[in-house]
Symmetry: C2
Subunit: 463 residues, 2 copies
Amino acid sequence: MDLITIRELYRNKEQYIGKKITVGGWVRSNRDSKTFGFIVLNDGTFFETLQIVYGDKLSNFAEIAKINVGSALIIEGELVATPEAKQPFEIQATDIQVEGNSPSEYPLQKKRHTLEYLRSISHLRPRTNTFQAVFRVRSLIAYAIHKFFQERDFVYVHTPIITGSDAEGAGEMFQVTTLDLNNVPLTEDGKVDYAEDFFGKPTNLTVSGQLNGETYAMAFRNIYTFGPTFRAENSNTTRHAAEFWMIEPEIAFADLKDDMVLAENMIKYIIRYVLENAPEEMNFFNSFIDKGLLERLEHVANSEFGHVTYTEAIDILVKNNDKFDYKVSWGCDLQTEHERYLTEEVFKKPVFVTDYPKDIKAFYMKLNEDNKTVAAMDLLVPGIGEIIGGSQREDDYDKLVQRMEELGLDKEDYDFYLDLRKFGSTRHAGFGLGFERCVMYLTGMGNIRDVIPFPRTVNNCEL
Amino acid sequence: MDLITIRELYRNKEQYIGKKITVGGWVRSNRDSKTFGFIVLNDGTFFETLQIVYGDKLSNFAEIAKINVGSALIIEGELVATPEAKQPFEIQATDIQVEGNSPSEYPLQKKRHTLEYLRSISHLRPRTNTFQAVFRVRSLIAYAIHKFFQERDFVYVHTPIITGSDAEGAGEMFQVTTLDLNNVPLTEDGKVDYAEDFFGKPTNLTVSGQLNGETYAMAFRNIYTFGPTFRAENSNTTRHAAEFWMIEPEIAFADLKDDMVLAENMIKYIIRYVLENAPEEMNFFNSFIDKGLLERLEHVANSEFGHVTYTEAIDILVKNNDKFDYKVSWGCDLQTEHERYLTEEVFKKPVFVTDYPKDIKAFYMKLNEDNKTVAAMDLLVPGIGEIIGGSQREDDYDKLVQRMEELGLDKEDYDFYLDLRKFGSTRHAGFGLGFERCVMYLTGMGNIRDVIPFPRTVNNCEL
């Protein structure tokens, strides 16, 4: 169908003023008097709406005058400039066709609905202002991330979703199976007979693509992943979902410094891209969801990120232990309250915390010369705390094996990973960005359930 | 680290000739005589390699002269033009540092390896020419798809991976669970007690994001998905994997014609993007994998796709039934041999087959006025057969319910889907593109296992 989008009208209005055009969209509101009426139309392509004026010359005036919120219409008419009105133009309709009605039980009436209520109708909530803004910005952030890496010739790698191994040894996993749970086949000694399962062995949903990603960084030098990851954690918070997307770049011939430069450039790039490509949506968030959002993001895009070692950070935090529920000391993991204190009160901008104690970090992180800390970094941002976690990887075969032995990891499970240290090993580094955390950060939305189209959490897998 | 990439050298050589530069990469070959030697270096950023000349002035000449294939080096030297040689330039090394050695048991020696053998070392195969080409092109195709849709303001929607429903009622599914299979909890009547499972009910891996995607098309008008999908089919073919990625655009205020225009434009866009951005890789495929590939792709990019109804296609095929293993008649599903005959012999270009019998297509496809066929389309391309399948969706509530009843589908499972026909329904359409099929089509690779980094098939879930 040859319809002009509302986005196109707003972006290039000069081309259309005074012309006869056809648009299609959904009714946001309709008010009529005896001989004419006004419809506010949204067509999903743009955050702003289009006003339609119609009169009783329409053969179906009576029908249109009664048309309900949510109905789908195709409208023909002239686009007329309205310099004295709030909106820049309107359509004076000469023909209105009803594509689909919307009865009065339509769950999205004009009144304001709570986010909780909207969560219960996840198939309809993208029709509201808030979720139009959230999910368009989510889409733009995803694209900005691809664009950032592709412009720098990174290779996008699809690491596997179903996996036979537990990448970080961390996090509860979902099992994937084709066995009949009502009739689980057993081996002679009474254990589950995984030879009967689809892959001939137990398999799970991935918790991270990093180890697979490293194999491709050792071939392509610079790669990134962008795919779904899973945690079967029984935690019901505003920041955790069982299914979420993650971006994991990995760079070879690179150390922790290169890793931080990459992370800083990426965050700034995403912010600038969204501010430039979704100004209407970002203004909406700034006005109705999170006042101060725009100022904060612009500050981040234009500031040089801070750097502090874990040991220095602990020194700062210890002096302020009276402010924290959870008191810190060297060796402890940082909680969100500490992270936010560092980035919001001490540095007042994003800050990288580096060189964490090896005992609170993963086995694959590069051991520093002090033998106590590893070349890890977390990026903390105001309003959120940790948004990125990364590290230089241990590229020395012997040190990596030693660390795995200390932690009781089975070498055989990591043969492929050790091969990377055996054959042409080189310093390399990478990080993980939780995509939904990133969307929350850029939109100001406070609950991860409101930035995922169909969120999956404990006891919740609707649609 | 401040290294120049080989890609940058090839793309902007004028800037670097005569200058001292530093590069890092992996040794593809090394031959030495008594006082000098040549290393062919690949750094993963570019398909072509870089020649390094080194002499016995290097303090570690003896070490370098013995360095094995696969080793990682950092090399400093002057870039010198070599107008009389095969390669455009070389580095005359003044310093070579060994980042990581590669012992003689390195599985990728200079000789040619079979694709079968390389499948057994999926963590190392991206270091070979063939897989460097495959996986860079895979990455570029993924980006071309995002770029195509984002330039047209489509919203990228992440439809869920874990699902409580079976979208198409088609295909064997993988179950996702946190229940202990060695000790499955049972209800009083001896059935699996899914109340104990993570989501409180049985869940599976998605086979399609379409139905969820439609909910977003009815809000944003034009959307696309791009995510992993799963089939637990026990089929060991060169074209099927248990885990693969799919692209599913969905457009509102649009009919089957619009859908076909979109598909045709997308395919042409992808081909042009890859030809433009990976000329070296595409030449390699054309020379060593699939002679005639470039000619075929250029022809597709520049031809207008054909159109034929299923009924017309059957008429053509019936006349040639002697050529087919599987004889056709009206009402039967087309096999690959028929599809390839149509596109390769009859039309000699890509062709859309439309208006299939309703009985061989999914419940959600729009019923044509003949009451026998549906507004479906498959796009057939030379060398492959079907690469895209799509349809206009049934947007009439009553007709959709009737079709569901005919097929014995439970209305309650599709409440959300029926809501789309209740509240502001409008004509809409979409299609699915199997991403790996598309990569095979553009590279000429014959086995789906060779276009997925870590393929998952029956009894195969390595790394």
